[in-house]
């Protein structure tokens, strides 16, 4: 693990992982999207609208996952001063915000025919919206300082403070009565038909590998930006 704290070594490993992740992402999308959107069976109650699930659920999971990475990266940046951890956190934020936005948007499109309303102010939806704003706040705060180091540290603290929201989102459907259905995972196993599990997991795989590709790009950009900045400071321009 410690070898990866060196940005150059991390990027070398990233270069090796990135093509595989990209290929896997494309394969998952090429196989998963047709199954999800055309060949999987329609739901006996919801009909074809259930296909929104194959985008909505992976997006929701990924938005939580990205925040988890952000919080973990921020913690190890604050505690052990790992610059790469912070770069991972910074790179995860826009992706997570995008996934949270996608989750909210597809949820509204799904809620309109199913609940009869695109939006209700219940715990699940509200906490997801809060997560979206936390991402925006984190990104805005990180870029708001003249000294980049100060933005890094301030953003890291905000990410940790905001992480109290994660368990609230995860358990909101269990704690409060909600229009939103409970999680398909429970102690009793997965409450989803096997014909729907395969496309769902292919889509999760596609989203996850997409995230890896984009985050590696983001970290590389930040390392290069830091190098350019250092070089310019040395030259005094």
């Amino acid at each position: 693990m410690h070898a990866l704290a060196n940005p150059n070594r991390f990027l070398k490993l990233g270069d090796r992982i990135q093509p595989w992740a990209l290929g896997l992402c494309l394969i998952c999308l090429a196989v998963g999207l047709p199954i999800a959107l055309a060949f999987s069976p329609p739901d006996y109650q919801q009909g074809d609208t259930v296909r929104i699930m194959y985008i909505h659920v992976p997006a929701a999971w990924m938005s939580l996952f990205c925040y988890g990475v952000m919080a973990a990266g921020s913690a190890s940046f604050l505690i052990w001063r790992q610059p790469v951890a912070n770069m991972m956190a910074r790179a995860s934020a826009p992706v997570g915000a995008m996934f949270a936005g996608l989750c909210l948007l597809t949820g509204m499109l799904w809620g309109e025919p199913m609940w009869g309303t695109p939006w209700v102010w219940d715990a699940r939806l509200t906490s997801m919206l809060v997560l979206f704003f936390l991402y925006l706040g984190y990104m805005a705060l990180g870029d708001a300082f003249d000294r980049p180091e100060q933005g890094d540290k301030a953003g890291a603290i905000l990410a940790l403070v905001g992480s109290v929201n994660l368990p609230i989102i995860k358990f909101s459907v269990d704690w409060w009565n909600s229009l939103h259905q409970p999680s398909i995972f429970s102690m009793a196993g997965i409450s989803l038909d096997s014909s729907m599990i395969l496309p769902l997991f292919l889509m999760v795989g596609a989203f996850q590998t997409f995230y890896i590709v984009v985050v590696l790009m983001g970290v590389r950009t930040q390392v290069l930006t830091a190098k350019v900045r250092a070089a310019r400071l040395m030259r005094g321009t």
Binding site: G137, L141, A144, F145, Q150, I157
Partner: protein, 221 residues
């Protein structure tokens, strides 16, 4: 402990002699609440229904406005650096500033709220629940807001950045604060909602002064 009391004394003296915060925040609170009957219309049924929400949202904005210069005044005149080099730990310093902020801006709102509730046609039975909910909730607003104020010290476009950072974290307090008043007005049991508000207060009292202190130290580096 001596340092803690001395710091609170300093903040309170500053507030009294500059006569800034308390009166301006209370004035902002009153004027903004009074805007709602004009904006929405004076029907008593509508006003009393939305009264709790209006009071809470306005209290939230008032807290946010006054938190803006919780640390930045001291940062600009250099006394923040002196406070950080003093033997008092930064966490205690942040806790003292937060408590002083609540005494000068949160407490007046609690006293003023029943009066404004009357103008919003809220029933007299709502007075005690309103004051209880605000008394449990406004310290949390000061605590969370202090972290935001410390994090944005020295940031560009601070005025728009602070609400973006702090308001999402205020939402749980708002939800349960309004819920407690509404439940009491409608005659339901509100103890559970008070307990949740008290829980928020305890968690943020334990974590926020520390987080604010870390953030202040980062900005002073």
């Amino acid at each position: 402990m001596n340092g803690f009391i001395a710091l609170i004394g300093r903040e309170l003296r500053l507030s009294v002699r500059l006569r800034a915060d308390t009166i301006m925040v209370a004035g902002f609170f009153a004027v903004t609440v009074i805007l709602f009957p004009f904006g929405i219309g004076p029907e008593p049924g509508v006003l009393s229904r939305i009264g709790a929400g209006v009071l809470w949202v306005t209290a939230l904005l008032a807290a946010l406005l006054s938190l803006d210069h919780l640390f930045s005044d001291d940062e600009q005149d250099g006394s923040l650096d002196l406070l950080l080099t003093s033997p008092v730990s930064p966490t205690v310093m942040a806790a003292a500033k937060i408590l002083a902020h609540w005494l000068t801006t949160g407490l007046p709102l609690i006293i003023l709220a029943p009066l404004l509730g009357v103008t919003l046609q809220m029933p007299s039975t709502s007075t005690i629940p309103m004051m209880t909910a605000l008394a449990l909730g406004t310290p949390t607003l000061s605590l969370i807001g202090a972290v935001g104020a410390a994090l944005t010290l020295g940031a560009r476009r601070r005025g728009v950045l602070m609400p973006l950072v702090v308001l999402p974290l205020y939402i749980p307090v708002l939800i349960f604060g309004v819920g407690a008043i509404d439940a009491a007005v409608m005659g339901f049991e509100a103890t559970g909602l008070y307990a949740v508000l008290a829980g928020f207060l305890l968690i943020s009292a334990a974590l926020c002064p520390w987080a604010a202190a870390v953030a202040v130290r980062i900005s002073a580096e």
